[in-house]
Subunit: 398 residues, 2 copies
């Protein structure tokens, strides 16, 4: 890729993200919805200006979602997150079990074999923590109890999703390692998160006090970013997701004295990199799936159970007295995680193009339907109009 | 390249840049010198952590130098630059003619044929506008008359360098288009700059007033960056350099009401991207050139005339009453532009490895010797110690 081609792609991404992001907010929607729509328009389905599979674009998009989760971690109060831990775990577990069972059943009913049906069910378990967190952040609702439960559940779900993906990938290659392999992966993934938080709390505050004593503010911010990158690398190495590592890095740094300087430094980078991620997700959408009757039928059925399964999961923590519907809807968007599942099935030859298209349809609808629904649900709670717009102003800085 | 490998590279680049940048300032040197040294250390010659020729690293480095020149343009007063125009043009022309003639003569004396001697002479004409501008910016001297002349001359030199490079590339392939081709390239390159500035002054302020009326501050900043990217693309298309386009974009935007918002938004990106460029330049250095006696002799002779030629050019505008030595030294660093010349000769088979190494040596020495020399020359002029450190604090924000 030449420098000129790269600049053209970046310019198209930024214009699409900002133009449609502003338009979305103008009609009362979260900016992220506009960025996704902008992505569809500059992507292969319409203008063909942005190919999200080109290496450099893909890498920048990954940096974008890593910075997003790092920012979200920096703004998250670990104690508040721990407080909703049981509720979040319940939402995550039911939100995996129900959609998997329902998706598997729907797939069998549409004549798929056992293995393709497992892949379809697995794709329904995903939650895109990036999209969920960004929507809540756009709406200024990340700190609400409902927001914290959704964030916690989405993080747990992302770890569970990776385990399921590993199992599915093994199954599609006929190499299933048995229950012990699943248990091992699970322990490692959650153990990493716990270990990182524990060790981080002991070492990181001292390290960053040292850095801020000897370095200028931009240096402190850069080292915060380096810490997020290192945690993302480590998370990937132990079989967890890089974005979980970045989120953990943010959580650990959130309580340090250097957090404001780091947040300030990362903010400008976020404005540039984060939209690249969402435009890339939008650009990966293939609008052709809306053209086939069979795909629409099977995809529609999958979408229905995908939405109902996650909404039901929102009601799983029966002891929680807040707005359970908000939690359920917050878990609906499958985003890029759902796409990865479908892609795995397609590449392994377990899914044909039509069935892949049906899963794509499910991913598109769940991803695009959640932001406006959440916005509609959360609007009345914001109180006075003036207060709401102050919150919106604040959160557009994220 | 996997995401993990990319993150590892970025982390190594940022740590090297910030660690050595801070160390350089601690011993009274411009941060950019530390970033170049840090690049050598993480590059192939020492640790082998960063390969500047990997596509994604190369593209990010290019974004870095584009953002740097955009920032420099945003801070430049066009009227001040025009006022020193004749002096800058004189410095640029003499700074191309003298080093070319001297380099050609030295190369012939060392037994090279006509064509290799032309390539060697051409490599000596380059000035790295990125390194020159960054050093002056680190020292807070970009606004001085000397700084403005160096900046103007470096920009003109960069355009001249491209023309020479095009001629050299034609010559090495035996396709020299004659004087008319040179004239055409020259007119197009300078015509682009003049046209962009003229048209920009007419259209751009209105456009950005419109954007700022309907968009939020991050959107305005993003559109400023998009404008820089588009100008870089256009400059490249008409045969000028992308960084000249980015500089012109900054010049045009500098006088708009939105300039502060754009500068603020681009600042955070600069902290991340600009060091990538300088670390990449450092990482491209091959320390082996210091191991051969022949290379040291030929390279040493080239370095000598390379330094003397540019220093003499600083004295060319005889009517200028300021510190001419500062101007000459400011023009010395060949940086990445010199490397590109040497690379062209090597790839075309006109230079063998030893002669390429001698040019590499000249590039390394001129690039690394200029920042500390400028710092030493400019130190006394800074006045009180307190005032100087305030300037230094301010400029490290760039």
């Amino acid at each position: 890729m030449t420098v000129t081609a790269f600049l053209t792609t970046l310019a198209a991404i930024l214009v699409a993200a900002k133009l449609f992001g502003e338009l979305a907010e103008r009609i009362g929607q979260p900016a992220v919805l506009g960025e996704l729509v902008g992505g569809v328009i500059v992507g292969g389905s319409v203008l063909g200006l942005v190919d999200p599979h080109v290496e450099s674009v893909h890498l920048l998009a990954e940096i974008g979602v890593i910075i997003l989760l790092f920012e979200i971690g920096l703004e998250t109060d670990l104690m508040k997150l721990f407080a909703v831990g049981p509720a979040a775990a319940m939402v995550a577990l039911v939100g995996v079990a129900l959609p998997f069972a329902a998706g598997y059943w729907v797939a069998l009913a549409f004549g798929l074999g056992t293995l393709p049906a497992i892949v379809a069910g697995a794709a329904l378990t995903a939650t895109s923590v990036g999209i969920t967190a960004r929507v809540l952040s756009d709406l200024g609702r990340l700190g609400d109890p409902e927001g914290q439960i959704v964030l916690g559940a989405a993080v747990i779900d992302d770890v569970l999703g990776l385990i399921i993906l590993a199992v599915v990938a093994d199954l599609t290659q006929g190499e299933f390692g048995g229950l012990s392999a699943i248990v091992r992966t699970t322990v490692v993934a959650f153990g990493f998160l716990a270990g990182a938080l524990l060790l981080g709390q002991l070492v990181v505050p001292r390290l960053f006090r040292l850095i801020s004593r000897h370095g200028k503010e931009p240096t402190v911010a850069a080292m915060g970013l380096v810490f997020a990158f290192i945690m993302a690398i480590l998370a990937d190495l132990v079989g967890s997701a890089s974005i979980i590592g970045a989120f953990a890095a943010g959580l650990v740094l959130a309580s340090t004295e250097q957090a404001p300087a780091i947040e300030k430094g990362v903010l400008g980078l976020g404005h540039f990199f984060v939209p690249i991620f969402f435009v890339a997700v939008g650009a990966a959408v293939d609008l052709q799936v809306f053209g086939s009757r069979d795909v629409l039928l099977f995809g529609g059925a999958l979408t229905l159970v995908a939405v109902l399964g996650k909404v039901a999961a929102g009601y799983a923590p029966f002891w929680f007295t807040g707005r359970k519907l908000v939690i359920g809807v917050g878990m609906v968007p499958r985003g890029e995680v759902g796409l990865i599942f479908a892609q795995t099935g397609l590449t392994a030859g377990v899914l044909d193009a039509g069935r892949f298209g049906a899963l794509m349809l499910m991913v598109i609808v769940t991803t695009f339907v959640a932001p406006p629904t959440l916005k509609a649900l959360l609007k009345p709670a914001a109180g006075a109009e003036a207060e709401e717009s102050a919150v919106a102003d604040l959160t557009t800085e994220i």
